[in-house]
Symmetry: C6
Subunit: 246 residues, 6 copies
């Protein structure tokens, strides 16, 4: 069967993705440090999808308030409220309830059930509500941290990814990088995801350089070289022909 591709809409990125985009239906991990533009990248993906490709989006937020995201993204001229009113975008806020404190910490199992099952239910409802083709979960880090056992964590992430696939949507999972530097430990999510995009920052001489890299994209012959990117008032732009020196 022929593979369909979803243009990300982020300038320079689709060129790197073999001039195509993300294989439709795939789940991609977007990893970056604080201030690397992960949320900007994800919203840009949904915004361009909704305004230029007729693809509605679901934004699942596990940490930030939707109202904050709306305000922060307004600096790029992206009117998210308008998209929401037009049923082209829906926010799902999965952690607004204050957790009842207990002596033994959070009621772990209950939380987990909530997380995986309720999370998926909410996503499916959102997808149905706006007939979404694109989904973002931001960040998955808090989701995975809830499984202290490593094997259980891997299975939970695999299950989430499989269920996301079943929606037929193209999905971005936002992941927080802990370490800095060129050499690092791979996170297990990078193996499970069908694609991995890295947004990192390095110091070269006296200058901090933002570096974009497609580490992995199953089903696509990609350019995996590190490329510089910038965050301007128009959002993220990657320079697919420029090189990054160590």
């Amino acid at each position: 069967m022929a593979v369909d591709y979803v243009p990300t809409g982020v300038p320079g990125v689709d060129k790197i993705l073999a001039e195509k985009g993300i294989p439709r239906g795939h789940t991609i991990l977007v990893c970056g440090g604080p201030g690397s533009g992960k949320t900007t990248f994800a919203i840009q993906f949904l915004y361009v999808g909704a305004t230029q490709h007729g693809e509605s989006g679901v934004y699942v937020t596990l940490e930030e308030e939707p109202s904050d995201i709306r305000t922060n993204m307004s600096k790029y001229g992206w009117d998210l409220k308008k998209l929401e009113n037009e049923k082209k975008l829906v926010f799902i806020n999965v952690s607004p309830v204050r957790v009842a404190p207990s002596e033994r910490g959070l009621i772990q199992i209950g939380m987990k059930e909530f997380r995986l099952i309720k999370l998926l239910e909410a996503i499916k409802q959102g997808v149905k509500d706006v007939n979404a083709k694109r989904v973002v979960v931001d960040p998955v880090t808090i989701f995975t941290l809830q499984y202290p056992d490593e094997v259980e964590r891997i299975y939970a992430m695999r299950d989430l990814m499989r269920d996301l696939r079943k929606t037929g949507c193209t999905n971005l999972l936002i992941s927080e990088l802990r370490g800095t530097g060129w050499e690092r430990e791979h996170q297990f999510e990078e193996y499970l995801a069908q694609g991995v995009i890295l947004l990192r920052t390095f110091l070269r001489g006296s200058k901090l350089v933002r570096v974009f890299q497609v580490e992995k994209m199953r089903g696509l012959a990609i350019d995996n070289q590190p490329r510089p990117y910038e965050i301007s008032v128009e959002g993220i732009e990657v320079y697919p022909a420029a090189t990054v020196y160590k």
Copy 2:
């Protein structure tokens, strides 16, 4: 809705913050090592706010005594007692009681409840007392260390940040950096905060250089390059046009 910005008043910093300042109502993490001027930065933020912008401030101290802070800051010519008398500044000392020792260590749960709920109550009272627009919590490190479970710690920090937002104030949370060096592990607070400012020290050749960097500032296109700063008898000054070599 239009975003309002709060000038920090620290020479050079507002230029780096897009010539504006911190988005009003945001909670910013200020991370630094011992002797990096974290407290000086925070007091300077409150002092300039109170004396030049008509914005009163609340200073929550979890480690140092208010009397020590008053004395130490007098070297910059900042008369904090006068500000306090004029109801432009209030100190909240949240850890003056000696903890009753028990065989199993501190009475953890009681401490936690005290921390989060009492801390917020005290902050709200302080904000009300001086009609504050700026809040500092110095340091949050001791607050987060009390939650041994990582997920619980993230939720506690998220809750603190959300409740601080509800006061309408612009807030600085002071955080202690453990590691030195350009490559380091990101702390989870950096992902939760709406902005992150780093105050670090590096050795270049024979000289120790102080380095200021805005790692992240949601809702603002900032200069994220590392810039040198100094601590003189007039407080902290950042040089926004100078470069720092590795």
Copy 3:
């Protein structure tokens, strides 16, 4: 007794393997990071075996769905479905059942029994079904993670390797590398396997370079130098005469 060799079919690799291939019946570990082409290497090994050497193959997948693998591999022009229909390839999907969540995590012992015994049963059945000469298990990482005790883990891996040997097939076990960089910790599987192939990625100046290395191949005088490789629309190609600079 004379040793027989199995050509891998991956361009450049057999030249490195003393112009021969993998000693027949051996179990080889293929270690690589995300996006390094581990699955491509393994499928190429089975595909060439089936189409050019008359050797059927079994592909045991512990993470990815067979349907995804079929689709992803189609970009290389490899029609796996056709091979399956011709009884030259069979997929074994050993983790499709959703794990019943319990308060204490996965039912560990039950899982283990399933893993080792059922896994071997399934492999033997697959080998019998297509009269296979080549077997791939992708990845073994999830298998080993299920044994928290290090000694038990080593014995489980040794048992798996010994039982794989008894099938008479030549086997590739895919392993996920956690660390990046030239200096790393060896994984215990590298000592147990009869051969170890590394697929890694390093940054040289401004360029990311893919590096192939046969770290170990028992019973064969191999070229153990690191060699560059590429992933193109024709699959993996290693350049056995080219050098890699640090």
Copy 4:
């Protein structure tokens, strides 16, 4: 209120401390490796205080025997016994009793109570006995190690520092550095102390260089550059105008 400064008496150090000294009443951490001259620095501080500034001193020793310290310091020509006879110096030996071994290790809680409460009582008695203005605790490392819980440890150290302040004395706490090298983890004591002095050793080319650095000194605009120092028969001497190359 005007701040008074206490000259350390160590050649070169007061120049680094803004030509003044340590703010009177402050508690300073002196961190160094084995053989870095921590005890020499501390005794020099007390000796010069007693002989040149009319300030008596208390030396609390948690590891070394007073008799050993007296002998070792005699190489600098410092007659400590004479000072003790003149009521200008008093040694407090807080760990001479052999700990009763038990199956579960030391009787932890009892030890702790002894440590903090008895330690303070002993210090206060010593201060009263010689009307001391300067106090040294050498080392605090053994004191902090007794609190396995990190939060409890921080509170214990904070309490010790606050109670030392109440004596009105200027205090040096000696701390043992574990790591070597320019990049290291900060110890939590560095955040709690009002000043931090580092005594370290680095290899430059073929030569080991001793490096003195005031990392932090609250209430004082100090020179925080690393400076070479030496230990001769006259004690420690720091060269405040010389530079140290990495």
Copy 5:
């Protein structure tokens, strides 16, 4: 009493060992990474001993099957089966039984007793059977991992080494190195053994270099410089006059 020396028979090694060899009756640790030729070195030691010096050998294998070793070594032209038939070599396979799985893991105590006592019994029987003068245990790593307590592990290894000494044989214990790179942690076995030989691999520029080093050899003035070695169709050869650059 005069010391007798056992030539290793590995070209270049005896020259490094003061032109003598290993002191008779000593127990030597041979440490190396995967593919470093540890087993080749050990077999070469036994093969040359048996064919050129009239010294029979015992090969204790804890991981690999004797049949695999026989096959793999045939590439060097070493006919081990012939030696076995001539009573010049005997294999002892100490881990062929499949471990009965239990809910709590391996039956640890039983395993340990088996290991140390049965292992020694088997070795003594083998030594007696072929009147052996040389013994190899490959690898000891799996043996030591079974003792989770560090002190117990050291005592077990010490006991094994002492009992091996009593056989009068010269012994090689094969040990797996975990870390790579010039700087590493010493393993406790290196202190217990009477000699330590390292087989390592480093990347120099574009080339992987094999490095042989005698770290320690009690009772012998050795050349402890790192020297290059190669593995060819004739086995291992060390170049005692060549130098290795970092």
Copy 6:
């Protein structure tokens, strides 16, 4: 009181020790890696003491058999048996009994009592038997490992050192270094000992260099620069005027 010094007798060392030696009655830590000559250094100290300075010695061995030490040292021409016969040297072997294995590991408390109390009793008896002035404990590492609690370990070591002092002898405690490289973690023993001597090995270009360094020597103005040393047929020789490059 005047300090008396004990010449080590190791060529070059006394020159480094201010042309004097070790202060009489002090306890010195000698730290080194495998093959660094720790035992040679210690025996040389006792041998020269006995033959040239009329000072008998006690050698406490916790790992190696006295008979092995006698044989190994014979290569330097040191006839230890002769010294023993002349009552100038006595070996104390404190770990010859095979430890009774139990399900919970070694009988920890019993072991500890044995260690500290019996060890001291044995040392005192040995000192009395030969009227010893010099004592060596080789290695103390195994002694300290038996105390899993860090505070307890520090107290045990401190008690051992204090009791050794009471014998009036000059003592060397041999300690095993785990890490290699110029940057390392200090061991707590280095703070407790009155002197620290390091025997290390570094690679410079193509050459392994042995480096001697007196890190600390209380009561003595020493040369703390790293100096090359060699182990020849005459024992250890340090070159006090030569330099070591990093």
